[in-house]
Amino acid sequence: MKWFYIIAIALVAALVASPFVLLSGGGDGPGAGKVISYNIYASKVKSIDPATCGDTTSSGIQCNIYEGLYCYHYLKRPIEVIPQLADGKPEISKDGLTYTIKIKKGVKYSRNPCFGLDKDGRAKTRTVTAEDFVLAFKRIADFHITTSLSLAFIHDKIVGMDEFRQRTRIYHKGDFSRYEKEKLPGVTAPNEHTLQFKLKKPFPQFLYVLAMHVYAPIPHEVVSYHLAGGKDPIPLNWRSPEIIKTRSVVGTGPYLLSKWIKAHKIILLRNPEFRGELYPAEGADGDRKAGMLVDAGKKVPFIDEVRLTFVKENNTGWMMFEKKLRDSAGIPRDVFTDVISPDKELEKKWRKRGVRLIKDTYPAIYWLAFNMDDEMVGASKSLRQALWLSFNVEEYIDLIFNGRGIRAVNVIPSSFKGHKEAGPSKYARFDPKAAKAKIDQAKKELVAAGVIKPGEGIPKLTLDMPGQEEHHRRVGEFVKRQFQRVGIEVKVIMNDWPTLQQKVHNKVVQMYMMGWHADYPDAENFLQLFYSPNIKIGTNNMNYRNKQFDKLFEKAATVMDEKKRIPLYKEMARILNEDCPALLLSEPISYILVNEWVRNVKPHPIGSGFRKFTYIDTALRRKMGGR
């Protein structure tokens, strides 16, 4: 029995000490002498492969590692596309169908074993060639890679994309010979530094599309070495055609992915092979005064290492900012009133600490969508107009988003060209009286359509929410109250995201909450959601059909001159203003808090990958009590 107690005590002691063994190799090493930026990310990174990138968090990481042909100017507003890996503007043929793009010479990939090892055992690198872009587009069209965003923009635009995808179906997923055997006629490399695109029809937004990092070059060595299993090739069945391992990430960007522990942390290190890029010398009006041009002409990136920790709890993330463990932060709902004064400025306590508040409208619109195939809301235009008139959007923004937003008055975001020209919709105002009058009209329309009998009221409508959280419940309650004003009852149904998607796809919804974030700064991005052939493709979820609108859209889709497109956009937006296929709610404004030691932060409405311009004064950070 004595032995039993001795063993038991020893065992317990061993178990208590076990974390030291189980957690070996956890530390990040000292950061002395380095400029390190600390921040958090709140939702999981799903992809480190540009071809499969589809969510904002993944994109926020990838854009530091991969670079596309073009990018956006960091400071200039209205936003402007500038060359990144491309050497100058593209040469566009007269019919607008052929793009010839020169590629910068001497751009190098980050060092990686896939390029081989030199005499000292150090990984080699090589320069970017046009063929790497061709491979990137082939991977995007590959049937075996779960592409979403990257293919959706171009599959019907570039010659041969769909056909390539069809042909890759017959290959085994691990058989990478398809990239060599199958040709993609729409994307070719006439020589080492020239890339040529052939389009099916003129695509005025093509340059914006190319400014996304998802079209970054992929060296064929990554496919033939890493994806085939590295030093010891693995059987076809075990191979994944997607880049899923940290070591297979090879890009040209300012940073390289040094560590990625899923749902825990990400460490980005400065890429020593990054071509010397300089901080922009000119900016928008007011940038000089705001101190955005202090570092003009200096070599970027300024930060050596970026350490990102996965923090899911809002509370924890906020505590980290309060204790100066993070460089910048958003404002969680719970603490909003402590931080922001009623006049939407920073509270004194925080200003004293040196914290800056940066407000930024970004081009997105949230709306309550109507299913136009529905017998009730689809049949009566007046009903939709009445619902819009009865909705107090200002109160909605105030209550639900703490005032972080502005009312959306037409389907084009306020920062886009065409918004002003289109003008606000007649129904984008809060007017219960007019709404009631419209309801009477709606009843007549519905009787005429045979949906209700004369003398009957409008039956209960249903609203589908895209989530089951507290926030969605509050929004649902709010909508209920709004429509009650004009005597319409609403049943709110809480769905999780996949369920709502399926319902929308099967067209069994009546009204649902949705929104759209701009992919590129052109109104077409929003208007395509109402183009009727897109019902089948799956982006026109409101099932809106209007022949006149379709005609205008088709016309605008191929007009290369932006100035000539604007009047067409105006027409289209006006049709939607009248038809109200969606009850437009708000355009969001984001509030970001930045500590004093951080410089050169200017949110960009569309582009990403601007972390390289951020400057951190580490001496000041230490002095102020940070890390």
Binding site: P19, F143, T146, I170, K262
Partner: protein, 424 residues
């Protein structure tokens, strides 16, 4: 196993839209479903399908498009499989025959049939053959599969010039024994049981995920359990020793108090306290010693319940006759407690302990997300919300296996402590 299957494959909503993203086109989603086997028949593959086979150049694919103003082919997804090409409508059909009615192929399915009648477009299917030829087939008004096939097979352009050979042949497939088990359920079962599940999100194997994440969970739960158990044993022995006195009452009061305070409160205040004294150690695993803060919190939160349970067990034992006999014989009280009572108490305590072991691996969801420990705790819940179905069903199966093993080990360990139990 069956529950997870039902949950995801039958009522779970559209998995493809989660993984391909909201912007993906309908075609991309269909491709994804095919790639991951979500378009296979659900339970058993005893279905006959409508096949449209392109005979022009061997086994290459056949593309079908809509004609102008038509949405006929929109509904028909073209799915080439290993050995043939087939067109099917929405779902697999049992016992498909020439007389099986086909849905109206004029427009996308509407909520109201009335609407479809209003618009009355022709239903033209454009068949694109692999040799580059195309021809249009008007399939409007085809009421059965037989009519649909006849429209395609008897089309004037559907034969090589001068010969009788058909370019495209539409027919109904036969049931093949070899394909009966190509179904979602069998696939699901096989992958779960053989632990071959691969994440739909990261394309990472379940075994790899567990190998990299389980140590972190164990680093949290193992010390917590060890400390809780030891502390609870000591305290409950002491408390039971002084039964009825102030010490006993105080001990019971404190343990009940510990049980009453919600676990979340311990965590929130514990972390706030850490932020106040040592902010760098309040979150994450940059320093290995950081783990002892959540361990401490788990211990404090857990020890109350254990003390109460162990105390009851020990008191049950001290009321037995043999204790009285031992005391009467003059054995000192501590001797009785540690030599006899504790040994006999082991039985229920051990059962309790071993049954907790499977949950050690699974980690603790709240603690892990609060303190930034990349363990397995949130894997189950996040794979549910992310609709990472293979991982979820793999995990459920794994938990079941570990739990069964745990019960087995408990039963075996009775041999050590209970002389009445013998292995035969």
């Amino acid at each position: 196993m069956i529950v997870t299957f039902l949950l995801f494959r039958v009522v779970g909503g559209d998995i493809a839209s989660v993984h391909v993203g909201e912007r993906a086109t309908a075609q991309l989603k269909a491709d994804w479903r095919h790639l991951h086997g979500y378009d296979l028949p659900k339970i058993l593959n005893v279905h006959r399908q409508l096949l449209i086979i392109d005979h022009t150049e061997g086994d290459s694919f056949l593309r079908i498009e809509d004609g102008k103003d038509s949405e006929a082919a929109g509904d028909l997804a073209l799915i080439p499989s290993d050995d043939d090409l087939r067109v099917r409508k929405g779902v697999y059909v049992f016992g498909l025959s020439e007389k099986t009615p086909v849905a109206e192929l004029t427009a996308a399915p509407d909520r109201k049939k009335k609407k479809a009648k209003k618009r009355d477009p022709p239903a033209i299917m454009v068949l694109k053959l692999s040799n580059g030829a195309t021809f249009d087939v008007d399939i409007k008004g085809a009421k059965t599969c037989g009519e649909l096939m006849a429209r395609i097979n008897d089309h004037p352009k559907n034969s090589e010039p001068g010969t009788e050979k058909k370019l495209v042949e539409a027919k109904i497939s036969e049931i093949k024994i070899s394909r009966i088990f190509q179904s979602q359920f069998i696939d699901h079962l096989y992958k779960s049981v053989s632990f071959q599940a691969v994440s739909l999100v990261h394309k990472e194997k379940l075994t790899e995920i567990i190998r990299s994440r389980a140590p972190k969970s164990l680093a949290l739960t193992v010390p917590a359990m060890a400390i809780t158990w030891t502390l609870a044993m000591i305290i409950s022995s002491v408390v039971a020793y002084y039964r009825g006195s102030m010490v006993d009452k105080m001990g019971v009061f404190l343990s009940v108090l510990g049980m009453c305070v919600p676990f979340l409160a311990f965590m929130i205040y514990g972390q706030l306290l850490m932020y106040a004294i040592a902010p760098k150690h309040a979150f994450g695993l940059d320093n290995r010693a950081n783990i002892y803060i959540p361990v401490l919190i788990m211990t404090i939160a857990g020890v109350g319940g254990s003390v109460r349970f162990y105390r009851t067990v020990i008191l049950d034992e001290t009321n037995r006759d043999y204790v009285r006999t031992a005391l009467a014989k003059g054995v000192p009280l501590p001797g009785v407690m540690f030599k006899h009572v504790l040994k006999n108490c082991m039985l229920p305590i051990l059962t309790n302990l071993v049954l907790a072991i499977p949950f050690l691996v699974m980690g603790s969801l709240l603690v892990e997300s609060f303190f930034g420990i990349p363990g397995l705790g949130d894997l189950l819940i996040s794979s549910y919300f992310g609709r990472d179905e293979p991982i979820l069903s793999g995990l459920v199966f794994l938990t079941a296996v570990i739990l069964t093993l745990g019960i087995l080990v408990t039963d075996l360990s009775y041999v050590l402590f209970d002389p009445r139990v013998r292995l035969k």
